[in-house]
């Protein structure tokens, strides 16, 4: 128990040092996700009306070869590590948000 609280304290310290709020909420994650994907989206118009169901490749027209760069940007932004297998499940904005939430939790 003592050990777990120490881990949480160090993790909180790490995120504070990096200038981020450890308890990032879903809407905040989603807005950062949209901001990152926006750099690679060819359909910029669709960015204004994204929902959880918005497909990253089909609706936002992100080149499939660039999806790796998107995920690596998530890694940098949220200080997480994503395996190739985790990334296979990312089709929509909602998938990306859920993946990030599972990693930062």
């Amino acid at each position: 128990m003592c050990h777990l609280s120490e881990v949480a304290r160090l993790r909180g310290l790490r995120n504070t040092i990096k200038g981020r709020d450890f308890r990032m909420d879903t809407s905040e994650i989603q807005s950062k996700v949209v901001e990152i994907i926006g750099r690679y989206a060819k359909n910029k118009d669709a960015l204004g009306s994204v929902t959880d169901e918005t497909n990253i490749l089909e609706d936002l027209k992100v080149n499939s070869a660039r999806l790796v760069d998107v995920i690596l940007d998530f890694e940098d932004e949220f200080d997480i590590e994503v395996e190739d297998e985790d990334a296979d499940a990312v089709n929509t904005i909602g998938d990306a948000v859920r993946l990030i939430q599972s990693k930062v939790a």
Binding site: N63, E75, E83
Partner: protein, 236 residues
């Protein structure tokens, strides 16, 4: 099952494919003997898995490349070294006999830009085949180079991912181009002569996860671009 059926029928389809390329289409590979000597020596020296990573300009590149590297007689006795290929489903999937044909010819269909889970399933099959000692070919840009030249920003992540995930896997980087091939096309021109060059290497990275796979893809792509530059420099 697919491998076993293909192996049994290989006594027909390997010579037939070679015959078509050599005598009907009159393709020529001037340095074929040297290429085959190098490739066979390389295979003999180590059992470590090999993923062939190549440029892509026509729909028969994988057949011509395989012919350049192994030769039909050698493949009949080394069937595992006939590379598995990942053709785009929409290029042939409209007729049942096409689907049967490519199934026999060691092909695993892929729908580029399709559901990510489906593409991941194809990559997992390739990983399995490499682990058991087969060889596979994957094109660096996924599809054919639309400009006729390699585009670094179109490099597919799959090749780095496979090399990263298969223990001791090496990348055999192959650059091939018909002398009359200006951009992409369905098949090379009849009577074309092919320049083929290859280099075997093991990518390295200090990263882990996807970043490591990305580094591998990048290194493979850079090798291919350097080989392409060498090709065009040699033509000037």
């Amino acid at each position: 099952m697919q491998s076993a059926v293909g192996r049994v029928l290989s006594i027909f389809w390997i010579p037939a494919t070679t015959f078509a390329m050599r005598f009907i289409m009159r393709y020529r590979i001037p340095n074929a003997l040297n290429l085959r000597r190098r490739f066979r020596k390389m295979v003999k020296e180590s059992d470590d898995p090999i993923l062939i990573c190549a440029n892509h300009l026509t729909m028969v590149d994988s057949a011509v490349m395989a012919w350049a590297l192994g030769g039909s007689w050698w493949y009949l006795f080394n069937y595992r070294r006939v590379p598995w290929n990942l053709p785009e489903h929409s290029n042939y999937g409209f007729k049942w006999y096409n689907r049967v044909g490519v199934w026999i010819l060691k092909c695993i269909p892929v729908r580029r830009g399709g559901r990510r889970e489906d593409i991941a399933g194809v990559l997992q099959r390739v990983q399995y085949l490499l682990r058991r000692g087969d060889t596979a070919i994957i094109f660096a840009e996924g599809g054919r180079s639309r400009t006729g030249r390699l585009q670094l920003d179109s490099i597919a992540h799959g090749m780095g991912r496979i090399v990263n995930s298969v223990r001791k896997c090496r990348a055999l980087v192959v650059y091939m181009r018909g002398d009359r091939q200006l951009t992409y096309s369905a098949v090379p021109a009849r009577g074309d002569s092919f320049y083929v060059d290859f280099e075997l290497f093991r990518p390295v990275s200090e990263n882990s996860g996807m970043r490591r796979s990305r580094d591998f893809s990048k290194q493979i792509a850079e090798k291919l671009v350097a080989m392409e530059e060498k090709y065009f420099a040699g033509r000037e």
